[in-house]
Protein backbone atom coordinates (compact mmCIF):
# COMPACT_ATOMS: atom_id res chain seq x y z
CA UNK A 1 0.00 0.00 0.00
CA UNK A 2 2.96 2.28 0.51
CA UNK A 3 5.96 2.84 -1.72
CA UNK A 4 9.13 2.37 0.32
CA UNK A 5 11.55 4.10 -2.09
CA UNK A 6 9.25 7.14 -2.29
CA UNK A 7 8.87 7.27 1.49
CA UNK A 8 12.66 7.15 1.80
CA UNK A 9 13.12 9.93 -0.75
CA UNK A 10 10.46 12.10 0.92
CA UNK A 11 12.06 11.63 4.34
CA UNK A 12 15.43 12.64 2.91
CA UNK A 13 13.88 15.66 1.25
CA UNK A 14 12.24 16.96 4.44
CA UNK A 15 14.54 15.84 7.24
CA UNK A 16 16.32 19.21 7.42
CA UNK A 17 13.22 21.33 8.04
CA UNK A 18 11.93 18.67 10.47
CA UNK A 19 15.09 18.84 12.57
CA UNK A 20 15.14 22.63 12.45
CA UNK A 21 11.61 23.04 13.78
CA UNK A 22 12.06 20.28 16.36
CA UNK A 23 15.27 21.94 17.55
CA UNK A 24 13.52 25.28 18.03
CA UNK A 25 10.75 23.55 20.00
CA UNK A 26 13.34 21.75 22.08
CA UNK A 27 14.96 25.04 22.98
CA UNK A 28 11.65 26.63 24.00
CA UNK A 29 10.27 23.76 26.03
CA UNK A 30 13.00 23.59 28.73
CA UNK A 31 13.04 27.40 28.98
CA UNK A 32 9.31 27.41 29.67
CA UNK A 33 9.56 24.62 32.20
CA UNK A 34 12.39 26.39 34.02
CA UNK A 35 10.29 29.54 34.16
CA UNK A 36 7.85 27.71 36.45
CA UNK A 37 10.37 28.32 39.25
CA UNK A 38 8.44 30.47 41.77
CA UNK A 39 10.88 33.40 41.59
CA UNK A 40 11.01 33.43 37.80
CA UNK A 41 7.24 33.05 37.72
CA UNK A 42 6.95 36.18 39.83
CA UNK A 43 9.28 38.09 37.59
CA UNK A 44 7.40 36.71 34.59
CA UNK A 45 4.20 38.08 36.08
CA UNK A 46 5.98 41.41 36.53
CA UNK A 47 6.96 41.40 32.86
CA UNK A 48 3.47 40.42 31.82
CA UNK A 49 2.08 43.29 33.91
CA UNK A 50 4.02 45.69 31.70
CA UNK A 51 2.44 44.35 28.53
CA UNK A 52 -0.98 45.47 27.29
CA UNK A 53 -3.70 43.24 28.72
CA UNK A 54 -5.10 42.50 25.25
CA UNK A 55 -1.78 41.19 23.96
CA UNK A 56 -1.44 38.83 26.91
CA UNK A 57 -5.01 37.67 26.38
CA UNK A 58 -4.38 37.07 22.67
CA UNK A 59 -1.44 34.84 23.48
CA UNK A 60 -3.66 32.93 25.90
CA UNK A 61 -1.54 33.88 28.91
CA UNK A 62 -4.38 35.29 31.05
CA UNK A 63 -4.11 32.59 33.61
CA UNK A 64 -0.72 31.02 34.03
CA UNK A 65 -2.20 28.55 36.49
CA UNK A 66 -1.03 27.09 39.73
CA UNK A 67 0.39 23.70 38.79
CA UNK A 68 3.27 22.91 36.47
CA UNK A 69 0.85 21.17 34.09
CA UNK A 70 -1.36 24.28 33.95
CA UNK A 71 1.69 26.41 33.38
CA UNK A 72 3.03 24.36 30.48
CA UNK A 73 -0.51 23.88 29.16
CA UNK A 74 -1.11 27.61 29.01
CA UNK A 75 2.27 28.85 28.03
CA UNK A 76 3.48 26.21 25.59
CA UNK A 77 0.27 24.57 24.38
CA UNK A 78 -1.74 27.81 24.27
CA UNK A 79 0.27 29.36 21.50
CA UNK A 80 3.77 28.08 20.66
CA UNK A 81 2.65 24.56 19.85
CA UNK A 82 -0.04 25.94 17.55
CA UNK A 83 2.43 28.04 15.69
CA UNK A 84 5.89 26.44 15.34
CA UNK A 85 5.09 22.92 14.04
CA UNK A 86 2.62 24.57 11.66
CA UNK A 87 5.58 26.02 9.75
CA UNK A 88 6.76 22.46 9.25
CA UNK A 89 3.39 20.99 8.30
CA UNK A 90 2.60 23.75 5.81
CA UNK A 91 5.96 23.24 4.09
CA UNK A 92 5.66 19.46 4.02
CA UNK A 93 2.04 19.36 2.85
CA UNK A 94 2.89 21.59 -0.06
CA UNK A 95 6.03 19.66 -0.98
CA UNK A 96 4.42 16.23 -0.83
CA UNK A 97 1.97 16.53 -3.73
CA UNK A 98 1.48 20.02 -5.17
CA UNK A 99 5.18 20.79 -5.59
CA UNK A 100 5.72 17.57 -7.56
CA UNK A 101 2.79 18.40 -9.83
CA UNK A 102 3.88 22.00 -10.24
CA UNK A 103 7.51 21.18 -11.00
CA UNK A 104 6.59 18.20 -13.17
CA UNK A 105 8.47 15.55 -11.21
CA UNK A 106 5.09 13.87 -10.59
CA UNK A 107 5.33 12.70 -14.22
CA UNK A 108 8.32 10.55 -13.25
CA UNK A 109 6.60 9.11 -10.19
CA UNK A 110 3.55 8.18 -12.27
CA UNK A 111 5.62 6.70 -15.09
CA UNK A 112 6.53 3.89 -12.69
CA UNK A 113 4.19 0.94 -12.03
CA UNK A 114 2.67 2.61 -8.95
CA UNK A 115 -0.98 3.63 -8.70
CA UNK A 116 -1.79 7.24 -8.00
CA UNK A 117 -3.51 6.21 -4.78
CA UNK A 118 -0.31 4.51 -3.65
CA UNK A 119 1.77 7.63 -4.32
CA UNK A 120 -0.73 9.87 -2.49
CA UNK A 121 -1.10 7.42 0.40
CA UNK A 122 2.69 7.22 0.81
CA UNK A 123 2.95 11.00 1.00
CA UNK A 124 0.00 11.23 3.41
CA UNK A 125 1.61 8.58 5.57
CA UNK A 126 4.84 10.56 5.66
CA UNK A 127 3.03 13.71 6.83
CA UNK A 128 1.13 11.78 9.52
CA UNK A 129 4.15 9.82 10.76
CA UNK A 130 6.56 12.75 10.85
CA UNK A 131 4.03 14.95 12.67
CA UNK A 132 3.45 12.16 15.17
CA UNK A 133 7.18 11.75 15.72
CA UNK A 134 7.56 15.47 16.30
CA UNK A 135 4.81 15.59 18.92
CA UNK A 136 6.15 12.38 20.48
CA UNK A 137 9.58 13.97 20.90
CA UNK A 138 8.01 16.97 22.59
CA UNK A 139 5.91 14.78 24.88
CA UNK A 140 8.89 12.72 25.90
CA UNK A 141 11.11 15.76 26.37
CA UNK A 142 8.39 17.50 28.40
CA UNK A 143 8.05 14.57 30.78
CA UNK A 144 11.80 14.00 31.15
CA UNK A 145 12.73 17.66 31.64
CA UNK A 146 9.85 18.30 34.07
CA UNK A 147 10.84 15.33 36.18
CA UNK A 148 14.47 16.41 36.29
CA UNK A 149 13.75 20.00 37.31
CA UNK A 150 10.52 19.57 39.30
CA UNK A 151 10.29 15.86 40.18
CA UNK A 152 6.75 14.57 40.59
CA UNK A 153 5.05 17.87 39.82
CA UNK A 154 3.83 17.07 36.32
CA UNK A 155 0.43 15.41 35.97
CA UNK A 156 1.59 12.88 33.41
CA UNK A 157 -1.84 11.61 32.38
CA UNK A 158 -3.09 15.13 31.75
CA UNK A 159 0.10 15.94 29.89
CA UNK A 160 -0.28 12.89 27.65
CA UNK A 161 -3.89 13.83 26.92
CA UNK A 162 -2.75 17.35 26.15
CA UNK A 163 -0.32 16.00 23.58
CA UNK A 164 -2.89 13.63 22.14
CA UNK A 165 -5.15 16.63 21.61
CA UNK A 166 -2.29 18.53 19.98
CA UNK A 167 -1.60 15.58 17.70
CA UNK A 168 -5.24 15.28 16.61
CA UNK A 169 -5.33 19.02 15.98
CA UNK A 170 -2.29 18.65 13.77
CA UNK A 171 -3.83 15.73 11.91
CA UNK A 172 -6.74 18.02 11.07
CA UNK A 173 -4.49 20.95 10.09
CA UNK A 174 -2.28 18.75 7.91
CA UNK A 175 -5.45 17.18 6.49
CA UNK A 176 -6.47 20.60 5.20
CA UNK A 177 -2.96 21.13 3.82
CA UNK A 178 -2.88 17.71 2.19
CA UNK A 179 -6.32 18.11 0.61
CA UNK A 180 -5.43 21.49 -0.86
CA UNK A 181 -2.11 20.07 -2.05
CA UNK A 182 -4.01 17.33 -3.90
CA UNK A 183 -6.79 19.59 -5.12
CA UNK A 184 -4.97 22.44 -6.84
CA UNK A 185 -2.40 22.36 -9.61
CA UNK A 186 -1.29 25.94 -9.43
CA UNK A 187 1.46 26.84 -6.92
CA UNK A 188 -0.59 29.66 -5.43
CA UNK A 189 -3.75 27.92 -4.29
CA UNK A 190 -2.33 25.06 -2.22
CA UNK A 191 -0.24 27.61 -0.34
CA UNK A 192 -3.13 30.06 0.07
CA UNK A 193 -5.47 27.42 1.51
CA UNK A 194 -2.94 25.06 3.10
CA UNK A 195 -1.11 27.86 4.88
CA UNK A 196 -3.77 30.58 4.88
CA UNK A 197 -6.57 28.66 6.59
CA UNK A 198 -4.50 27.48 9.58
CA UNK A 199 -3.02 30.96 10.02
CA UNK A 200 -6.50 32.51 9.87
CA UNK A 201 -7.68 29.92 12.40
CA UNK A 202 -4.82 30.87 14.66
CA UNK A 203 -5.57 34.59 14.36
CA UNK A 204 -9.27 33.99 15.08
CA UNK A 205 -8.24 31.94 18.09
CA UNK A 206 -6.10 34.82 19.35
CA UNK A 207 -8.90 37.36 18.81
CA UNK A 208 -11.48 35.19 20.49
CA UNK A 209 -9.26 35.14 23.61
CA UNK A 210 -9.62 38.91 23.89
CA UNK A 211 -12.91 38.95 25.75
CA UNK A 212 -16.57 38.05 26.05
CA UNK A 213 -17.69 40.32 23.24
CA UNK A 214 -15.62 38.63 20.53
CA UNK A 215 -15.73 35.15 21.96
CA UNK A 216 -18.45 34.03 19.53
CA UNK A 217 -15.94 33.97 16.66
CA UNK A 218 -14.23 30.98 18.23
CA UNK A 219 -16.83 28.94 16.35
CA UNK A 220 -15.00 29.87 13.15
CA UNK A 221 -11.70 28.29 14.09
CA UNK A 222 -10.69 24.67 14.17
CA UNK A 223 -8.40 25.42 17.09
CA UNK A 224 -11.37 25.81 19.45
CA UNK A 225 -11.69 22.05 19.32
CA UNK A 226 -8.40 21.91 21.21
CA UNK A 227 -8.75 23.49 24.66
CA UNK A 228 -5.71 22.79 26.90
CA UNK A 229 -7.44 24.10 30.01
CA UNK A 230 -10.39 21.75 29.69
CA UNK A 231 -8.16 18.77 28.93
CA UNK A 232 -5.99 19.40 32.02
CA UNK A 233 -8.79 20.25 34.41
CA UNK A 234 -11.12 17.49 33.34
CA UNK A 235 -13.69 19.45 31.36
CA UNK A 236 -15.53 17.87 28.45
CA UNK A 237 -12.99 17.41 25.68
CA UNK A 238 -13.66 13.99 24.22
CA UNK A 239 -16.32 15.03 21.65
CA UNK A 240 -13.98 17.75 20.39
CA UNK A 241 -11.12 15.28 19.96
CA UNK A 242 -13.39 12.84 18.16
CA UNK A 243 -14.51 15.69 15.89
CA UNK A 244 -10.86 16.47 15.11
CA UNK A 245 -10.23 12.85 14.28
CA UNK A 246 -13.21 12.68 11.93
CA UNK A 247 -12.19 15.92 10.21
CA UNK A 248 -8.67 14.53 9.70
CA UNK A 249 -9.90 11.23 8.26
CA UNK A 250 -12.27 13.01 5.88
CA UNK A 251 -9.62 15.48 4.70
CA UNK A 252 -6.98 12.83 4.00
CA UNK A 253 -9.48 10.47 2.39
CA UNK A 254 -10.85 13.23 0.20
CA UNK A 255 -7.32 14.30 -0.78
CA UNK A 256 -6.40 10.81 -2.00
CA UNK A 257 -9.75 10.47 -3.80
CA UNK A 258 -9.39 13.82 -5.57
CA UNK A 259 -5.80 13.16 -6.57
CA UNK A 260 -6.76 9.81 -8.06
CA UNK A 261 -9.55 11.32 -10.15
CA UNK A 262 -8.17 14.60 -11.37
CA UNK A 263 -6.43 15.67 -14.56
CA UNK A 264 -2.72 16.19 -14.02
CA UNK A 265 -0.92 18.85 -16.04
CA UNK A 266 2.43 17.06 -15.96
Amino acid sequence: MCSKPLLKATIKQNIAVFILILAVLMVYLPIIIIMYEPETKDSLNDVLALLPQSLIAAMGLNNLGNTLTDFIGNYFYGFLILFLPMIYTITVCYRCIAAHVDKGSMAYLLSTPNKRTKIALTQALFIIISTTVMIAFITLAGIVISNIIFPGELDILAFLLLNLGTLLLYYAVTGIGFLSSCLFNDTKYPLITGAGLPVIFLVIQMISNLGEKVQFIKYFTLFSLFDPEKIINGGSFLPQLIALFIISAVMYGLGIYVFNKKDLPV
Binding site: P5, A9, A107, T112, N114, R116, K261, L264
Partner: protein
Protein backbone atom coordinates in the same frame (compact mmCIF):
# COMPACT_ATOMS: atom_id res chain seq x y z
CA UNK B 1 1.23 -5.97 -37.50
CA UNK B 2 -0.13 -6.23 -33.96
CA UNK B 3 -1.38 -2.83 -32.75
CA UNK B 4 0.34 -1.73 -29.53
CA UNK B 5 -0.89 1.85 -29.12
CA UNK B 6 -4.52 2.49 -30.10
CA UNK B 7 -6.19 5.88 -30.05
CA UNK B 8 -9.90 6.10 -30.90
CA UNK B 9 -11.66 9.44 -31.31
CA UNK B 10 -9.65 10.92 -28.44
CA UNK B 11 -11.06 14.34 -27.54
CA UNK B 12 -10.15 16.82 -24.83
CA UNK B 13 -11.67 20.26 -25.28
CA UNK B 14 -10.07 23.08 -23.29
CA UNK B 15 -12.24 25.69 -25.01
CA UNK B 16 -11.02 28.43 -27.38
CA UNK B 17 -10.23 25.73 -29.91
CA UNK B 18 -7.48 24.46 -27.62
CA UNK B 19 -7.11 20.79 -26.92
CA UNK B 20 -7.27 17.70 -29.09
CA UNK B 21 -10.20 16.65 -31.24
CA UNK B 22 -11.22 13.25 -32.45
CA UNK B 23 -7.71 11.80 -32.81
CA UNK B 24 -7.62 8.30 -34.21
CA UNK B 25 -4.44 6.40 -35.00
CA UNK B 26 -2.58 3.29 -34.04
CA UNK B 27 1.05 2.30 -33.72
CA UNK B 28 1.95 -1.29 -34.53
CA UNK B 29 4.44 -3.57 -32.84
CA UNK B 30 8.03 -2.74 -33.76
CA UNK B 31 7.03 0.52 -35.40
CA UNK B 32 8.54 3.95 -34.79
CA UNK B 33 5.84 6.58 -35.08
CA UNK B 34 6.78 10.24 -35.40
CA UNK B 35 4.38 12.78 -33.99
CA UNK B 36 4.86 16.16 -35.57
CA UNK B 37 3.35 19.56 -35.00
CA UNK B 38 4.16 23.10 -33.87
CA UNK B 39 4.06 24.20 -30.24
CA UNK B 40 0.53 24.15 -28.86
CA UNK B 41 -0.79 21.79 -31.53
CA UNK B 42 -1.67 19.12 -28.96
CA UNK B 43 1.33 16.76 -29.06
CA UNK B 44 1.95 16.83 -25.33
CA UNK B 45 -1.78 16.69 -24.54
CA UNK B 46 -2.02 13.48 -26.59
CA UNK B 47 0.98 12.01 -24.78
CA UNK B 48 -0.49 12.94 -21.38
CA UNK B 49 -3.57 10.93 -22.29
CA UNK B 50 -1.40 7.98 -23.27
CA UNK B 51 0.32 8.25 -19.88
CA UNK B 52 -3.02 8.26 -18.07
CA UNK B 53 -2.52 11.75 -16.59
CA UNK B 54 -5.69 13.09 -18.21
CA UNK B 55 -9.22 11.77 -18.59
CA UNK B 56 -10.56 12.31 -22.13
CA UNK B 57 -13.87 14.08 -22.73
CA UNK B 58 -14.70 11.52 -25.41
CA UNK B 59 -12.95 8.58 -26.98
CA UNK B 60 -10.27 6.44 -25.43
CA UNK B 61 -6.73 5.21 -25.82
CA UNK B 62 -5.16 1.86 -25.13
CA UNK B 63 -1.62 0.58 -24.82
CA UNK B 64 -1.02 -3.18 -25.02
CA UNK B 65 -4.81 -3.58 -24.95
CA UNK B 66 -5.20 -1.78 -21.60
CA UNK B 67 -7.07 1.49 -21.08
CA UNK B 68 -4.48 4.19 -20.48
CA UNK B 69 -6.45 6.04 -17.81
CA UNK B 70 -7.70 3.21 -15.64
CA UNK B 71 -4.86 0.70 -15.95
CA UNK B 72 -1.88 3.02 -16.26
CA UNK B 73 0.08 1.45 -13.40
CA UNK B 74 -0.02 -1.94 -15.19
CA UNK B 75 0.96 -0.37 -18.50
CA UNK B 76 3.93 1.36 -16.85
CA UNK B 77 5.56 -2.01 -16.16
CA UNK B 78 6.31 -2.19 -19.88
CA UNK B 79 6.59 1.46 -20.79
CA UNK B 80 9.38 4.01 -20.82
CA UNK B 81 8.50 7.70 -20.78
CA UNK B 82 10.49 10.84 -21.43
CA UNK B 83 8.52 13.98 -20.45
CA UNK B 84 8.76 17.09 -22.61
CA UNK B 85 9.63 19.27 -19.66
CA UNK B 86 12.53 18.14 -17.56
CA UNK B 87 11.91 18.24 -13.84
CA UNK B 88 13.56 15.87 -11.44
CA UNK B 89 14.21 15.66 -7.77
CA UNK B 90 16.65 18.53 -7.77
CA UNK B 91 18.52 17.67 -4.61
CA UNK B 92 19.48 14.18 -5.85
CA UNK B 93 22.56 13.37 -7.86
CA UNK B 94 22.12 11.78 -11.28
CA UNK B 95 22.93 8.32 -9.99
CA UNK B 96 20.70 8.70 -6.93
CA UNK B 97 17.83 9.62 -9.24
CA UNK B 98 18.42 6.62 -11.52
CA UNK B 99 18.63 4.34 -8.49
CA UNK B 100 15.46 5.87 -7.06
CA UNK B 101 13.55 5.39 -10.32
CA UNK B 102 14.90 1.84 -10.55
CA UNK B 103 13.61 1.09 -7.04
CA UNK B 104 10.24 2.63 -7.86
CA UNK B 105 10.04 0.23 -10.78
CA UNK B 106 11.38 -2.74 -8.86
CA UNK B 107 14.32 -2.91 -11.25
CA UNK B 108 17.11 -5.25 -10.20
CA UNK B 109 19.34 -5.53 -13.25
CA UNK B 110 21.29 -2.29 -13.74
CA UNK B 111 23.50 -3.51 -16.57
CA UNK B 112 21.54 -1.78 -19.32
CA UNK B 113 21.35 1.40 -17.25
CA UNK B 114 25.14 1.49 -16.83
CA UNK B 115 25.60 0.81 -20.53
CA UNK B 116 23.38 3.79 -21.36
CA UNK B 117 25.27 6.02 -18.93
CA UNK B 118 28.48 5.09 -20.76
CA UNK B 119 26.86 5.54 -24.16
CA UNK B 120 25.69 9.07 -23.39
CA UNK B 121 28.87 9.87 -21.46
CA UNK B 122 26.87 11.25 -18.56
CA UNK B 123 28.60 12.20 -15.34
CA UNK B 124 26.04 10.94 -12.83
CA UNK B 125 27.92 12.12 -9.75
CA UNK B 126 26.77 15.74 -9.77
CA UNK B 127 23.60 17.19 -8.28
CA UNK B 128 20.77 17.44 -10.79
CA UNK B 129 20.16 21.06 -9.78
CA UNK B 130 23.57 21.98 -11.20
CA UNK B 131 23.25 20.02 -14.46
CA UNK B 132 22.94 21.75 -17.83
CA UNK B 133 19.83 21.26 -19.94
CA UNK B 134 21.62 18.77 -22.17
CA UNK B 135 22.80 16.69 -19.21
CA UNK B 136 19.29 16.63 -17.75
CA UNK B 137 17.95 15.52 -21.12
CA UNK B 138 20.46 12.65 -21.22
CA UNK B 139 19.42 11.65 -17.71
CA UNK B 140 15.78 11.64 -18.80
CA UNK B 141 16.56 9.48 -21.83
CA UNK B 142 18.52 6.96 -19.73
CA UNK B 143 15.64 6.88 -17.25
CA UNK B 144 13.15 6.13 -20.05
CA UNK B 145 15.21 3.30 -21.55
CA UNK B 146 16.95 1.73 -18.56
CA UNK B 147 14.32 -0.89 -17.69
CA UNK B 148 14.27 -2.13 -21.27
CA UNK B 149 10.52 -1.50 -21.82
CA UNK B 150 8.47 -2.81 -24.73
CA UNK B 151 6.89 0.55 -25.49
CA UNK B 152 8.55 3.96 -25.46
CA UNK B 153 6.83 7.33 -25.43
CA UNK B 154 9.26 10.18 -25.94
CA UNK B 155 8.25 13.84 -25.91
CA UNK B 156 10.77 15.88 -27.94
CA UNK B 157 13.64 13.57 -27.02
CA UNK B 158 16.56 15.43 -28.60
CA UNK B 159 15.86 18.96 -27.37
CA UNK B 160 18.98 20.26 -25.69
CA UNK B 161 21.29 17.56 -27.07
CA UNK B 162 24.35 18.51 -29.10
CA UNK B 163 24.63 17.05 -32.65
CA UNK B 164 26.97 14.28 -31.49
CA UNK B 165 24.51 13.16 -28.83
CA UNK B 166 21.62 13.47 -31.28
CA UNK B 167 23.48 10.95 -33.42
CA UNK B 168 23.96 8.65 -30.40
CA UNK B 169 20.26 8.97 -29.68
CA UNK B 170 19.24 8.22 -33.28
CA UNK B 171 21.43 5.10 -33.23
CA UNK B 172 19.84 4.03 -29.97
CA UNK B 173 16.34 4.40 -31.46
CA UNK B 174 17.32 2.36 -34.52
CA UNK B 175 18.84 -0.35 -32.33
CA UNK B 176 15.77 -0.53 -30.09
CA UNK B 177 13.58 -0.63 -33.18
CA UNK B 178 15.57 -3.60 -34.49
CA UNK B 179 14.88 -5.30 -31.16
CA UNK B 180 11.14 -4.97 -31.82
CA UNK B 181 10.34 -1.99 -29.59
CA UNK B 182 7.31 0.15 -30.30
CA UNK B 183 8.18 3.82 -30.14
CA UNK B 184 6.10 6.98 -30.31
CA UNK B 185 8.11 10.17 -30.38
CA UNK B 186 7.13 13.75 -30.88
CA UNK B 187 9.67 15.97 -32.51
CA UNK B 188 10.19 19.06 -34.56
CA UNK B 189 13.55 18.03 -35.97
CA UNK B 190 12.77 16.73 -39.44
CA UNK B 191 16.01 14.85 -40.08
CA UNK B 192 15.65 12.90 -36.87
CA UNK B 193 12.09 11.82 -37.70
CA UNK B 194 13.17 11.05 -41.24
CA UNK B 195 16.04 8.85 -40.11
CA UNK B 196 14.18 6.88 -37.48
CA UNK B 197 10.44 6.83 -38.13
CA UNK B 198 8.36 4.45 -40.24
CA UNK B 199 5.31 6.65 -40.23
CA UNK B 200 4.60 10.19 -39.22
CA UNK B 201 1.39 11.76 -37.92
CA UNK B 202 0.99 15.48 -38.39
CA UNK B 203 -1.15 17.33 -35.87
CA UNK B 204 -2.49 20.84 -36.38
CA UNK B 205 -4.73 22.76 -33.96
CA UNK B 206 -5.48 19.54 -32.11
CA UNK B 207 -6.53 17.64 -35.21
CA UNK B 208 -4.60 14.95 -37.03
CA UNK B 209 -4.24 16.29 -40.58
CA UNK B 210 -2.14 13.52 -42.10
CA UNK B 211 -0.53 10.20 -41.41
CA UNK B 212 2.21 9.60 -43.97
CA UNK B 213 4.36 6.62 -44.65
CA UNK B 214 8.02 7.60 -44.52
CA UNK B 215 8.87 5.63 -47.69
CA UNK B 216 6.18 7.46 -49.65
CA UNK B 217 7.55 10.75 -48.48
CA UNK B 218 11.05 9.78 -49.54
CA UNK B 219 9.81 8.95 -53.05
CA UNK B 220 7.99 12.25 -53.31
CA UNK B 221 10.99 14.03 -51.90
CA UNK B 222 11.73 17.42 -53.37
CA UNK B 223 14.85 19.45 -52.92
CA UNK B 224 14.84 23.21 -52.63
CA UNK B 225 17.80 25.22 -53.91
CA UNK B 226 18.73 28.81 -53.16
CA UNK B 227 21.01 30.08 -55.92
CA UNK B 228 22.78 33.42 -55.50
CA UNK B 229 23.77 35.01 -58.83
CA UNK B 230 26.09 37.93 -59.50
CA UNK B 231 23.25 40.44 -59.93
CA UNK B 232 19.45 40.63 -60.39
CA UNK B 233 19.92 40.76 -64.18
CA UNK B 234 21.70 37.40 -64.25
CA UNK B 235 19.03 35.96 -61.97
CA UNK B 236 16.26 37.14 -64.29
CA UNK B 237 18.15 35.79 -67.31
CA UNK B 238 18.45 32.37 -65.59
CA UNK B 239 14.73 32.30 -64.77
CA UNK B 240 13.74 33.28 -68.33
CA UNK B 241 15.95 30.84 -70.21
CA UNK B 242 15.15 27.76 -68.11
CA UNK B 243 12.02 25.83 -67.25
CA UNK B 244 12.40 25.09 -63.56
CA UNK B 245 9.80 25.20 -60.80
CA UNK B 246 10.70 28.66 -59.51
CA UNK B 247 9.36 29.36 -56.04
CA UNK B 248 10.69 32.84 -55.47
CA UNK B 249 13.02 35.45 -56.97
CA UNK B 250 14.47 38.00 -54.61
CA UNK B 251 16.91 40.38 -56.38
CA UNK B 252 19.86 38.10 -57.24
CA UNK B 253 18.67 35.07 -55.23
CA UNK B 254 16.49 32.48 -56.95
CA UNK B 255 14.66 29.81 -54.94
CA UNK B 256 13.55 26.77 -56.93
CA UNK B 257 12.45 23.26 -56.22
CA UNK B 258 13.35 20.09 -58.11
CA UNK B 259 11.98 16.59 -57.80
CA UNK B 260 14.45 13.76 -58.41
CA UNK B 261 17.33 14.21 -60.88
CA UNK B 262 19.30 17.47 -60.78
CA UNK B 263 21.47 17.06 -63.92
CA UNK B 264 19.54 19.63 -65.97
CA UNK B 265 19.83 22.11 -63.16
CA UNK B 266 23.60 21.71 -62.90
CA UNK B 267 23.98 22.11 -66.66
CA UNK B 268 21.94 25.29 -66.62
CA UNK B 269 24.00 26.70 -63.76
CA UNK B 270 27.13 26.11 -65.81
CA UNK B 271 26.31 29.19 -67.94
CA UNK B 272 26.27 31.51 -64.95
CA UNK B 273 28.53 32.74 -62.21
CA UNK B 274 27.12 31.28 -58.99
CA UNK B 275 28.16 33.10 -55.83
CA UNK B 276 26.41 30.76 -53.46
CA UNK B 277 24.33 27.61 -53.57
CA UNK B 278 22.24 26.44 -50.65
CA UNK B 279 20.36 23.13 -50.58
CA UNK B 280 17.45 22.54 -48.27
CA UNK B 281 16.62 18.91 -48.37
CA UNK B 282 13.84 17.49 -46.30
CA UNK B 283 10.83 15.74 -47.63
CA UNK B 284 9.15 16.03 -44.32
CA UNK B 285 9.68 19.75 -44.20
CA UNK B 286 7.86 20.11 -47.49
CA UNK B 287 5.03 17.93 -46.33
CA UNK B 288 4.94 19.97 -43.20
CA UNK B 289 4.87 23.26 -45.09
CA UNK B 290 2.13 21.88 -47.27
CA UNK B 291 -0.12 21.35 -44.26
CA UNK B 292 1.01 24.42 -42.41
CA UNK B 293 1.32 26.70 -45.39
CA UNK B 294 -0.88 29.50 -44.07
CA UNK B 295 0.79 32.59 -42.67
CA UNK B 296 -0.12 32.11 -39.04
CA UNK B 297 1.36 28.66 -38.90
CA UNK B 298 4.46 29.76 -40.77
CA UNK B 299 5.26 31.96 -37.83
CA UNK B 300 5.12 29.10 -35.37
CA UNK B 301 7.07 27.03 -37.86
CA UNK B 302 9.82 29.64 -37.84
CA UNK B 303 9.81 29.52 -34.06
CA UNK B 304 10.19 25.78 -34.22
CA UNK B 305 13.05 25.99 -36.66
CA UNK B 306 14.78 28.45 -34.39
CA UNK B 307 14.06 26.19 -31.45
CA UNK B 308 16.49 23.45 -32.24
Amino acid sequence: MKPIINVYGLTKDYGNNKGIFDLTFCVGEGEVFGYLGPNGAGKTTTIRHLMGFLTPDRGCSQILGMDTRTRSSEIMKQLGYLPGEIAFFDQMTGLEFLKFMGEMRGLVDTKFRDKLVDLFQLDTGGKIRKMSKGMKQKLGIICAFMHDPKVLILDEPTSGLDPLMQKVFTDLILEEKSRGKTILMSSHIFEEIERTCDRVGIIKNGRLVAIENMNDIKKKRRKTFDVTFENPLAAAEFVRSNDFDIMDVNENIVKLSIMGNVTEFIKALNYHTVLDLNIESSGLENIFMYYYGDTESEKSFEVMKGGH
